[in-house]
Subunit: 358 residues, 2 copies
């Protein structure tokens, strides 16, 4: 037995040396009981490390120690999920020690979740949970196979007799099909509201809205001609416009207006969050738009546009709202405080889920 003990000891040593070539494991972020947050970063070479976060008015400096551990503690912040990043000298990075990454194509930021004293609408609670499924569908419009995410509610039976309404939910510009679940906790918001009977059990489809280099209008075609048929042939769903909704944020909020308002026979609920509408597709659809308002208002049960007063698109969104009102389209504006953020996005979605399919 002596032999194998000494082999094991040697192995322990060897493996520790090998793994030691990685930077040391440090804990970051640590959310403290008072809702302050401690961030840490390891570097023996950095001259300056700064914290940027959507919970901060301006960046905060870390303080480095001689062992290479940089630390900063942020005073208590309002419970929510926030994106943040580190600026190491001049390089902006995600927190290397935090698994939770903001799903995005252009930037790499991390996410910190500050739990509330009472559970928040987006928190993991002790309720029945739905499932998120990653699916592939063939887009005949785009000529490729693409991924989308499908939330099915607790108790969902793909072969049962219950048929479900469907919300098509679109991410923001440079986000991905994962952003609504990873950053927006769409599945947990749905789980919690369904458990409280504030939302009806529904399917939520989260496609990937970026069709570049094809024109944005091809995404509208992809939704109508490929995604909806894929969902309707693979899930037990209700197929009339009273049971089909579209919602989206930022670029996806603009896509929501394009997709929804040019297909009011298909979408009875159109919920646009802080829409970005300075696009060719929007100009083409709405610059000379002269809708039959009575018909649209009859088909669409609910049309909302949500925005925060600090959103950089606030003035633009107010003009969108005025334009639709000028065309006599029934519209429920939802104006809140806050900026162009996923903190607001989660609230917008929580509101929508309680308003649709009733």
């Amino acid at each position: 037995m002596k032999l194998s003990i000494s082999i094991t000891a040697t192995l322990l040593l060897t493996c520790c040396i090998m793994f030691a070539q990685r930077p040391p494991a440090i804990s970051s972020p640590d959310v403290n009981p008072d809702h302050s947050i401690t961030f840490r970063y390891y570097s023996k070479t950095a001259q300056r490390v700064t914290l940027k976060g959507e919970f901060l008015q301006s960046p905060l400096s870390f303080i480095g120690d001689t062992s290479g551990i940089w630390t900063v503690t942020v005073p208590p912040v309002k419970p929510d999920i926030y994106p943040y990043s580190f600026l190491v000298d001049s390089v902006e990075i995600a927190d290397p020690n935090n698994t939770y990454i903001f799903a995005n194509e252009r930037f790499k930021r991390s996410i910190v979740d500050i739990p509330g004293d009472a559970p928040l609408v987006h928190s993991l609670q002790n309720v029945f949970h739905g499932k998120i499924s990653y699916r592939y569908y063939n887009s005949t419009t785009l000529g490729i196979t693409r991924q989308l995410l499908v939330y099915t509610p607790p108790g969902f039976n793909p072969n049962g007799k219950i048929k479900y309404p469907v919300l098509y939910l679109i991410h923001g510009g440079s986000d991905t099909e994962e952003t609504w679940t990873k950053v927006g906790h769409a599945n947990l918001i749905a789980d919690n509201l369904i458990a409280q009977k504030k939302a009806v059990p529904m399917i939520i489809v989260m496609p990937y809205g970026n069709v570049r280099p094809k024109p944005m209008a091809d995404f509208t075609k992809d939704v109508i001609n490929d995604i909806i048929p894929f969902i309707e042939s693979n899930y037990p769903v209700l197929m009339d416009n009273k049971n089909r909704a579209v919602a989206g944020f930022s670029v996806g909020g603009g896509q929501t207006l394009n997709i929804g308002l040019t297909n009011t026979d298909k979408f009875g609920y159109i919920c646009s969050y802080a829409p970005y509408t300075a696009t060719e597709e929007f100009q083409k659809n709405f610059t000379n738009w002269s809708p039959d308002a009575d018909k649209v208002n009859k088909q669409v049960k609910l049309f909302t546009i949500s925005v925060g007063t600090d959103d950089f698109l606030y003035e633009s969104v107010k003009k969108n709202i005025a334009m639709f009102e000028e065309r006599k389209i029934n519209l429920k504006p939802h104006i809140v405080s806050g900026g162009h953020t996923w903190m607001n996005c989660k609230l917008f979605l929580a509101t929508t889920l309680q308003e649709i399919f009733h």
Copy 2:
């Protein structure tokens, strides 16, 4: 109409200015038809940018131009999926323009997928696709609700009469429950091998193996007492040891040996990839291990240990193999070229899927 055109023009300008505060969208990585790869990075302040990648013997320098675009092209590389990162001055980062991130707790690397001239076993092919579902389960062992991923094969019916065998598949140290799908393409490997009838339709469960600060042995308890019961009460699965397999890589390869060999009544297939075994749990289980080899060999239909000859654990794994052979345990070593990499991991899994449940 003039008014709304001018409003739109103003919006276009305003929004472009706002979005312009982000770094410019550049394309990286670009995989060229000859399998060379061009990487790009934008920085006006970096002094030096270097590429590190598992397709390189040593780091390569980018060349910067006056507009702040840094570029490097790597000569043709063997088709596969590789992790890589950029070293910007002294800061190692994921490629900001690449959505595909290596799911990991400690480092942030990107992934590049070089397609083969013929499709590879891990490539998205034109076959029927299974689903990956993200599920929550209550771990009574750990006292928390945790996430795991479940692959169900094409045609899976949760309420049908067909019952499936189950593979429990564990990631490496500092990886997450997403690493086997995001980096390992476990779902696509299964789709392709099932389509070719080289693998039987099966369920693959991918839990999160890190139970720190609890001792590693608690993960074994979590698998046995929480994960298996969760799967067996929520999926139509076969419950004898001939229809239950465990496999894992690195730290997860060590966990595979601990979980499998201490529960041979439950696992008929034990497939360990480049196991890291310098752990207390392994020492406790195997230092004074005197198994009833006949019984183990009867219960276990297949026990494999796979490793590459360039793996930093190669010598250690050879000693593991010798130890098991000394105990007269039937074992199929699977020695290949290559290192401690996810390129090898995918091959190990593709081999396992063809060997189990037949």
